[in-house]
């Protein structure tokens, strides 16, 4: 069985590499909590590249405008149609920010409207149980960014009802952006929801 490879999407606009520690942290969590074979190193994949199709789950983040070139948009559209899943996180945690405005527009254009994902969705129970929906981040609770605690993630659903684009305004990129060794200082591992995203992508 080929191991799961965590892929970070590289796009030409903005700062795609704004959260370089997130991949290693999530890889560590997947290996720590599950028996899913996982590659120890993540990869970076261009959104316009045919290599995108080798990674059915791709994580994107950034602070700056998220605008896709024609080549990126074409490849991403085909990627989503064939069953790929994008997880896009707003590193600004600001619904008034440029990343949110541009990313939601681009993603809606490619995958259909983003709708609030109900907190009873299997995403929140496929491995760890999150009865209240997406866990809040410290940035939300501290009033930074848009000063909101977002009750829901947003998603575009494919024709079979599965998530094709998962969009977060909660800034998990900041929440999970630390060295995996630092997990031992936390009473509750805040990357557990990241494991749910990976497990959901691998099974639904």
């Amino acid at each position: 069985m080929t191991p799961f490879v965590f892929a970070t999407g590289r796009y030409q606009s903005g700062d795609w590499d704004a959260a370089p520690l997130v991949p290693a942290n999530l890889i560590d969590s997947v290996a720590r909590y599950t028996s899913i074979p996982v590659a120890p190193q993540g990869v970076v994949v261009d959104l316009a590249s045919a290599a995108l199709f080798d990674y059915p789950l791709v994580y994107c983040t950034g602070h700056l405008p998220f605008r896709l070139t024609a080549g990126e948009a074409s490849t991403v559209r085909r990627y989503l149609t064939r069953g790929g899943m994008l997880f896009v996180d707003d590193h600004n945690h600001d619904v008034g920010g440029v990343f949110h405005a541009t990313a939601t527009e681009e993603l809606s254009r490619l995958a259909g409207p983003l709708v609030d994902l109900p907190n009873t969705h299997p995403l929140y129970s496929c491995f760890f149980e999150f009865r209240d929906g997406p866990p809040a981040t410290s940035h939300e609770l501290n009033g930074w960014g848009d000063n909101l605690v977002h009750a829901h993630l947003q998603a575009a659903l494919g024709p079979d009802g599965a998530i094709s684009v998962l969009y977060s305004s909660k800034d998990y990129s900041s929440e999970w952006g630390y060295h995996p060794d630092a997990k031992r200082f936390q009473s509750v591992d805040n990357t557990r929801f990241g494991v749910n995203i990976v497990v959901y992508a691998l099974t639904r």
Partner: protein
Amino acid sequence: MRSRAEHLLRAAAALALGWAIWCGLRGVAATARSATRLGDDPSVLTPALHRWTASDPPASIDLRVASPPSAPTRAWLAAIAALGTVVTWGPASGDTLLATAIDVEPIADPRRAVRVGVAAPAGRTVMLRDVLGPLDSARATRRTGGVGFRVGGPLVVPEAVVGGTGREATRARGTGGDSLLLRPVLIIGRAGWEGKFVVRALTSIGWRVDARLAVAPRADVVIGSPAAIDTAHYAAVVMLDSAAGLSDAVRRYVQSGGGLIVRPAAQHDAGLPAVGAGPPQPGAPTLADSAPRRGLALTPIDTTDTAIVVLERRDRFAAVVARRVGAGREAIEGYSDTWRARMAAGDDGPRAHAEWWGRLVSAVAYAPVIVRATHDRGDPAPLAATIATLGPPTSPGPASDRGGGPALPWWLFGAIMIALGSEWASRRLRGAA
């Protein structure tokens, strides 16, 4: 004494002449029911059948056809033959009657796909159609003795038309056929892209799927409502990789009639005798749209066991094989990560991936037949049915040769002439007038 003999000869001649006259009169009467030859033009044949049913049929009917007569025409002619009419039939001059037969068999496919086999002479074009119109066509080959079609949905009055589209075409008509009871498919394996996309593939073509995908020790992601592994619950079980603890259940399931698809590495968990596998072979560098599985890594299956049937080859390697196990069937699939063909092999990748998995499941699935009660038995082999009903075809001959009135025997004329000549000569020799 001589005079008495002359009287006897004269009486014999008179009797023979009387018999000849009786024969002649009977022939005239029979001429009213004379032999009839006609073709298969419905505008002529159908009114004639009506007429012969309502009044005396002819003594004989010779039907010359461009194609085997339809089932109603055959039955009608058989009924007329039962009344004493001699019915013969055969090809009209210059025509050849085509031996054709159709067989429609349901496939274990949720879209109610069917497999249609048509027997036809080599080189002839076979068109498959149903009441909604033409579906497909192909040329019959000598090797197969006909043509095989796979239709992805139900057929309403399927018909194979062989040898053109006019009256010379032979039409074999099947029935919609029986259907199959299809239970869900169970997918067992570890969480990963392969399991996810096999579930999607089978779901997209209509299969109901239960899945148990292991994420961690004692933690599975469950899709649907997995039940006990037996033929009452599942049409097929797909074991993508190890599924420890299920070997007894899977073995019992297959031996009692279930279908299993298993990867070489998972064979030991299936509880069945393992088939050997060779060293993994890399795929082509790129995944082509036209042959998406060429780009996949392959574990070749050992085919030395004569009970194994190869379902798919890649170059000299057996990629997918099947065998019977007890009352069930097992397919061993050697490709790795078939999801890559879905994702990377062109825009048709998802559909092709789903169809391929659907065929694999269909090949092994346990699917009890639901017999459909119908009076329509179709006309699956019209030429054979015509021969069975009316006898073998005959060559056309003069109509008067068959079934006319009784002819005057040639020897009767000779006997009359001999009797009269002898009587006359006797009288001349003895000088009587």
